[in-house]
């Protein structure tokens, strides 16, 4: 579509007011096409609200959200997901009573045409469609090193595998933009390094990523671009180097004194 536009996701003037509280207040952000944007900020800065606004879980009070040129502000969650923006969750939201493979298949609705009659009667054309989906889901699990876990109950998986499974579930819909909500939270150093490699690999395949993360080492290593949020507003935006040296960012994280001391 708008192949010329350098941003796959372009957010302008996004607002979310709960009564008098301005959780998100006129936010602008751009995720570069095929790149990684990290959205960082201290606790309570509005990151979670932002991701809920982007994915349609919350309705913005104002502003525009354009994914690949398509306006998505105020659209229902499943419409946003089908438009190509899918998220993972900070605090694990897998389907506990489904197997690992089944969890991945849940993400595949946008690619499933078989209706009730076809699924009940096991019509051959749709069986091929199902087989292709199951094969794709198995391939994704293999890529994430979880092929041997396909039939397991989700609850019995180690924590790190559960986080990777969420990524597989998001990827099966072939999204344009993957939203990762604190994917490194609770992982050990080796798992974080592994996660970093995976995210870079996904970018190499052409996927654009919006990364919300507290692990600054990971953010600095992965991000092409960083947007810093505080009190629901963008206080800085730029390359990792530029953002790290920005006194407003230091102040937001460490307080004014620390910022003065550094300047």
């Amino acid at each position: 579509m708008s192949e010329a536009s350098p941003a796959i996701l372009s957010v302008r003037g996004l607002c979310c007011h709960f009564g008098g509280l301005r959780a998100v207040d006129g936010l602008d952000l751009d995720v570069p096409r095929g790149g990684i944007l990290a959205l960082i900020g201290p606790n309570g800065a509005g990151k979670s609200t932002t991701i809920n606004l982007l994915t349609g879980a919350l309705r913005p009070s104002a502003g525009s959200i354009r994914l690949d040129g398509v306006e998505l502000a105020g659209k229902a969650a499943h419409v946003v997901a089908r438009a190509g923006m899918v998220r993972t969750f900070q605090n694990g939201r897998l389907f506990a009573r489904l197997s690992v493979l089944e969890n991945v298949l849940v993400g595949a609705d946008s690619r499933l045409r078989a209706g009730l009659a076809a699924s009940l009667l096991r019509l051959p054309g749709f069986r091929a469609e199902e087989a292709a989906l199951v094969a794709h889901a198995g391939g994704l699990l293999g890529r994430l090193g979880m092929a041997q876990d396909a039939a397991r109950e989700v609850g019995t998986l180690p924590y790190g595998s559960q986080r990777r499974l969420e990524i597989a579930r998001a990827l099966i819909s072939r999204p344009k933009l993957l939203l990762l909500d604190e994917p490194a939270a609770g992982l050990n150093a080796a798992e974080v390094a592994e996660l970093g490699r995976l995210i870079l690999q996904l970018r190499q395949d052409g996927l654009s990523v919006l990364l919300i993360e507290h692990n600054m080492g990971l953010v600095m290593r992965l991000a092409d671009h960083i947007t810093v949020l505080n009190f629901g507003r963008r206080i800085a935006s730029g390359t990792p180097q530029a953002v790290r040296d920005d006194p407003r960012v230091v102040e937001a994280y460490l307080g004014r004194r620390a910022a003065d001391a550094r300047v």
Partner: protein, 293 residues
């Protein structure tokens, strides 16, 4: 010995029908959270539509066309139920939705009374009224047919829910609708399909029951109560439980009527249900409910 075998086959057939109604009930409850008090009326609707369709279409293509037309009509009833009750009340408090299903049950019952009148309908079985002889015991062919259809339907529904991506998505929607939507699942499409399935299962139960009992338009609540007992005995929220519960209810009812007194056949069913409520309130397969968290 022969008499007992006959009774057990009849009990399994009746139990199978209760199991189908209980499955309809469970499917609605599990995947949409709605306790559907119109389930029994849906079964009666199936019997009434089936009897009329077979009578009307006997000359035009015969039985298969009549059954297909009945299934199509029940699918429409399911969609109408979805559009009239579930969709407008989505997000309403559970009590409101329950009252909505009671209201729609009364509407169905009274419309059926206007259309079909108060007289019970009789329906011929697709396999006739003969018997088959197995190891010297004469078994009613229709009862054997009902058991076979029930087993097949349980298998088909189980395969749908566990072996197809569509069924997996239905289960995901039931477990955590919010996350399912964020993964791109189209809620109206899936809920619509679930209500079609709910109406089909209840309707098929009615069609299977009509050749065994006379069915009149007021029977819905009696059937629903038996299915409700089956659901409690099997473990609320479990489809395998609904099947086992249905069979147990059928056995209690038929064997109690034959060996003790047919005046108390309903009492045996509810005594069994109360015994389960007191001694094993989670039912036969109840551990799944606790695991839902």
């Amino acid at each position: 010995m022969g008499e007992l075998a006959q009774l057990v086959v009849n009990a399994l057939a009746v139990g199978g029908i209760y199991a189908l109604i209980a499955m309809s009930f469970e499917l609605a409850y599990e995947s949409t959270g709605v306790v559907n008090f119109a389930t029994g009326q849906l079964a009666v609707m199936g019997a009434m539509i089936g009897a009329s369709a077979l009578a009307l279409l006997r000359l035009h293509g015969g039985l298969p066309v009549g059954y297909l037309a009945t299934a199509a009509a029940m699918a429409v009833v399911g969609l109408a139920f979805f559009a009239a009750v579930f969709r407008p009340l989505r997000g309403a408090p559970p009590v409101t939705i329950v009252i909505g299903t009671i209201a729609i049950g009364m509407v169905i019952q009274n419309v059926a009374q206007l259309v079909w009148g108060p007289l019970p309908v009789a329906m011929r079985s697709p396999v006739g009224s003969g018997t088959i002889h197995l190891a010297g015991v004469a078994l009613p062919l229709h009862a054997v047919f009902v058991i076979a259809v029930t087993v097949a339907l349980v298998g088909v529904v189980h395969a749908l829910l566990h072996a197809t991506p569509l069924g997996v998505q239905m289960r995901a929607l039931a477990q955590d609708a919010e996350t399912a939507l964020l993964m791109g699942i189209r809620p109206l499409r899936l809920y619509g399909m679930i209500w079609v399935l709910v109406a089909l299962l209840a309707g098929i139960a009615g069609v299977l029951l009509a050749p065994m009992w006379f069915i009149d338009v007021t029977m819905g609540d009696t059937l629903a109560l038996k299915a409700f007992a089956a659901a409690i005995i099997g473990g609320f929220g479990s489809i395998p439980g609904a099947v086992c519960g249905g069979v147990l209810v059928g056995l209690a009812e038929i064997l109690g009527a034959a060996y003790v007194s047919s005046d108390y056949k309903d009492a045996f069913v509810f005594a069994l249900m109360i015994a389960f409520l007191v001694l094993r309130p989670q039912g036969l397969f109840g551990e799944r409910i606790g695991a839902r968290g």
